[in-house]
């Protein structure tokens, strides 16, 4: 949950990158860490396994400067995507203010995307949140693999699978090449801050 210090005019909020295993959540954060050095306010921390799979979470703090008179800080997290780390995902999701759902564009991962989205919905519900109300952006990652002749789902198909009811902003991306990462993050930040503005009415 966002921390709002009225006296110091500071807001700190939490955005979580969610999605199935190996979809590119950590790669997103790594790219942000490398490319947005001015906004990054600390080291990126990754707690992962030997195989470079996220074990607990990745963490990256950012400062966005003053927005409507308030100093805005953001904490970016990723969750582990592997099925067996379900309880850790739930822990990391606690107090989330905005979510970026990273979907894997590979055709072979279609089912995993849907299972992960369902998992997100379940975990949010356990915190009394609705997936339809929480600030949410969807990223369709790994679009670059089309160039390697790997079967990808079309954006239309992925939108139908994952966004038919949610109708949230979605962005194609290639986290490994960096394309779409900044746009996704910017949209995620805007949706989150819009929601917090309504909640705290700080900009009035």
């Amino acid at each position: 949950m966002a921390i709002f210090n009225l006296k110091k005019k500071e807001i700190e909020c939490k955005i979580v990158y969610y999605g199935p295993g190996r979809c590119g959540k950590t790669t997103n954060l790594e790219y942000i860490f490398q490319s947005f050095k001015k906004q990054v306010t600390g080291e990126m921390v990754s707690i992962n396994t030997e195989g470079d799979r996220t074990l607990f979470f990745d963490f990256l703090p950012m400062g966005l400067g003053k927005i409507k008179g308030c100093d805005v800080r953001v904490q970016l997290y990723t969750v582990p995507g592997q099925v067996k780390y379900s309880s850790t995902r739930k822990l990391v999701l606690r107090g989330v203010d905005g979510i970026i759902f990273v979907a894997d564009s590979l055709e072979v991962r279609r089912e995993k995307n849907m299972i992960s989205l369902k998992d997100l919905q379940t975990n949010l519900r356990e915190y009394g949140k609705s997936i339809f109300k929480v600030p949410l952006i969807i990223q369709y990652n790994k679009r670059d693999l089309a160039e390697e002749g790997i079967p990808l789902m079309s954006i239309d198909q992925m939108d139908k699978d994952l966004n038919r009811q949610l109708k949230v902003p979605s962005f194609p991306a290639s986290a490994v090449k960096g394309s779409g990462v900044g746009k996704t993050l910017k949209a995620g930040l805007m949706e989150t801050l819009k929601s917090l503005q309504k909640e705290f009415k700080w900009a009035k």
Binding site: F59, S86, L91, E148
Partner: protein, 297 residues
């Protein structure tokens, strides 16, 4: 598509999936390529091609094994533990509890032991220490810890009674009968506002074993991977080729002697068939989705 191009495409896909860490998808593509190669009557280097693919599959299986049996909660560095405390706890007690939730039990016990000297957290800290003792050692250790505290003057009588009641509840859930020394009758029954009820954590279950009760393989235990878990509900995808194994299972049926395999423990329990449906569309068309509710462990 030309056979040669087909094989090349499959091997290319397999390589990319392997590089992406998608080991089972990579294995499927290697196997598909091997299957095509096997059917070709005359192919130069057929044997060596199949041997190479077989080697790649074996290597994938080794890596898959390593990944899937890796520790669920290894002990992190002090820096990692400090980060967990900072990010997931607002006060000292919450920080210690965060350590427990991320499996950093030894460090959690250290922190909680320090909190025994803080009046506001004393009872909650003690309860969590007992929880940890049970988790990393045994109920006997937790009982011994309580008895040590009972013999000391660290706790006021009503605090000791609250701790005793808490430990008695956990032991009862585990079917352990213990005669815990009692300092006062009817201690504070007021719920400690700082204490977080231990969640009845359902361990992450990665696969289950069901003993077949009917059919030609009656009495045999068959294993299925858990596709998705939400609390005590498990979803399995059963291949259409295994239909005969589950065709007699009916919704509402109780399954006894179910083996549950989690990354840290294997345990036996019972489950109920919550749902059984055939998948009508998509890549798993024809397979079955079997939902089981864990009823006891």
């Amino acid at each position: 598509m030309d056979i040669g191009v087909q094989i090349k495409t499959l091997l290319n896909e397999a390589e990319i999936y392997r590089a992406q860490g998608l080991f089972s998808d990579a294995r499927d593509k290697y196997q598909a390529a091997a299957s095509i190669i096997t059917k070709i009557q005359r192919l130069k280097n057929k044997k060596s091609l199949l041997k190479t693919i077989s080697g790649k599959i074996a290597s994938l299986e080794e890596t898959t094994q390593k990944v899937s049996t890796g520790p669920t909660s290894p002990e992190l560095s002090e820096k990692g533990q400090d980060l967990i405390k900072d990010l997931f706890g607002k006060n000292e007690l919450e920080k210690a509890v965060a350590l427990i939730k991320f499996g950093q039990i030894e460090r959690a016990v250290e922190e909680l032991t320090n909190l025994l000297t803080v009046e506001a957290y004393r009872v909650s800290a003690a309860n969590y220490i007992l929880q940890c003792k049970i988790r990393i050692a045994s109920t006997d250790e937790a009982i011994e810890q309580y008895k040590d505290w009972f013999a000391s003057d660290l706790f006021a009588p009503d605090q000791l009674e609250a701790i005793r009641e808490y430990l008695q509840t956990i032991l009862a859930k585990k079917g352990v009968v213990a005669d815990l020394p009692q300092s006062v009758k009817g201690g504070s029954s007021e719920k400690d506002p700082l204490f977080f009820e231990p969640e009845d954590d359902m361990l992450d279950i990665t696969s289950i074993g069901i003993t077949l009760s009917t059919g030609p393989e009656k009495g045999k235990m068959v294993e299925f991977d858990v596709n998705f878990q939400s609390g005590d509900m498990l979803s399995l995808i059963v291949s259409k080729t295994d239909e005969t194994l589950i065709e007699d299972l009916q919704k509402g049926e109780n399954l006894k002697n179910v083996q549950f395999y989690s990354p840290i423990a294997m345990f036996t329990g019972t489950a109920m068939v919550a749902n059984k449906t055939k998948i009508e569309a998509g890549p798993k068309q024809g397979d079955f989705c079997l939902d089981l509710k864990v009823t006891s462990t």
